[in-house]
């Protein structure tokens, strides 16, 4: 049985405590299939194995807690480390530039990485912490995005409760195609702009 199958089997046996633990660990940065876990949880809700609101509340709370841990570790540990490395390697100016960029575009980045491209979420926690993105704004976008993420994926699992594996395959690829398309349009526009100037 694959690791994902073992996780899903454990979810069936241990329910909400396991859901909380897995989502929190994944939000800190351990790559775990949380989208599939949320979709399967939605399917269990449809089958009457669990209730809708506890699943959404537990999933959102676990994700926000994990994000806060990632942000906190990066802000109070990672920043010093990156500053030391950038001083030694002479990339101080680039570090400042990246920091300004993260502060400027942090909000939408945090929001979309919570529910659209969830694999990028832990990375955005780290970059936000290192760039000292204001904590109040971070938690605002984080809670907004994570609640949307939990509602979205659990409801997808609820609606397509009999075909969770197939729908997860479609959603996972669709998110990357959307993100890739947006980035390609931005980069293409930059190339055209620089050719014209």
């Amino acid at each position: 049985m694959s690791f994902t199958d073992q996780l899903l089997a454990a979810l069936l046996l241990y329910g909400l405590p396991l859901l909380f633990g897995v989502i929190m660990i994944a939000s800190v940065g351990v790559p775990l299939p949380i989208n599939l876990i949320l979709i399967v949880s939605g399917s269990f809700v449809r089958q009457g194995e669990s209730k809708l609101w506890p699943v959404i509340i537990v999933a959102s709370a676990a994700a926000v807690l994990g994000d806060q841990i990632g942000y906190g570790l990066a802000r109070w540990g990672g920043r010093r480390l990156v500053a030391r490395i950038s001083r030694k390697t002479g990339f101080k100016a680039q570090f400042r530039k990246a920091e300004a960029l993260a502060k400027r575009w942090g909000g939408p980045g945090i929001f979309f990485s919570r529910w659209l491209v969830t694999a990028l979420g832990p990375w955005l926690n780290v970059t936000s912490g290192i760039a000292e993105y204001p904590w109040r704004r971070f938690i605002f976008w984080d809670v907004l995005g994570q609640v949307l993420c939990a509602v979205l994926y659990v409801m997808v699992g609820y609606v397509f409760s009999d075909r969770v594996q197939a729908i997860e395959g479609i959603l996972g690829n669709l998110a990357w195609v959307i993100l890739g398309f947006i980035v390609a349009v931005i980069l293409g526009w930059k190339i055209v702009k620089s050719l014209r100037s």
Binding site: Q6, L12, S43, E49, S161, A166, I167, G180, I191
Partner: protein, 123 residues
Amino acid sequence: MKKFRRQQWLILAGFLLIVGFTSFKAVHLARAVTFWKAHRDEPIRGWMSIGYVAHSYHVPPHVLYSALGLPLTPPDKRPLRAIAKGQHRSMGEIQAILQNAIIHARPPYPPPPDPSPDREGPP
């Protein structure tokens, strides 16, 4: 044509990488959608419970319980892998038993009646 600067080359390389990656994911997406359209049934996996298989295949749960020789009540919430272990069977055997029961519970075969007493009508 003007000569590209280093930064412009980097943007172009990034653009080509993103286009390649997005195309790769788009192919996977197309495959997943084709699979979705072609297959109504999910493959039976070790993490699934009997209830989930019955729900996914739209067959009455009692058909699957009786195929595996398990009592209908209380509902067995164990994953199929645990049931296989408990019955000293391989996962392949469990899958074959369930598939066979599912085939015989779907049209043109009528599903066998529910044996649970609470679902029986008045005498």
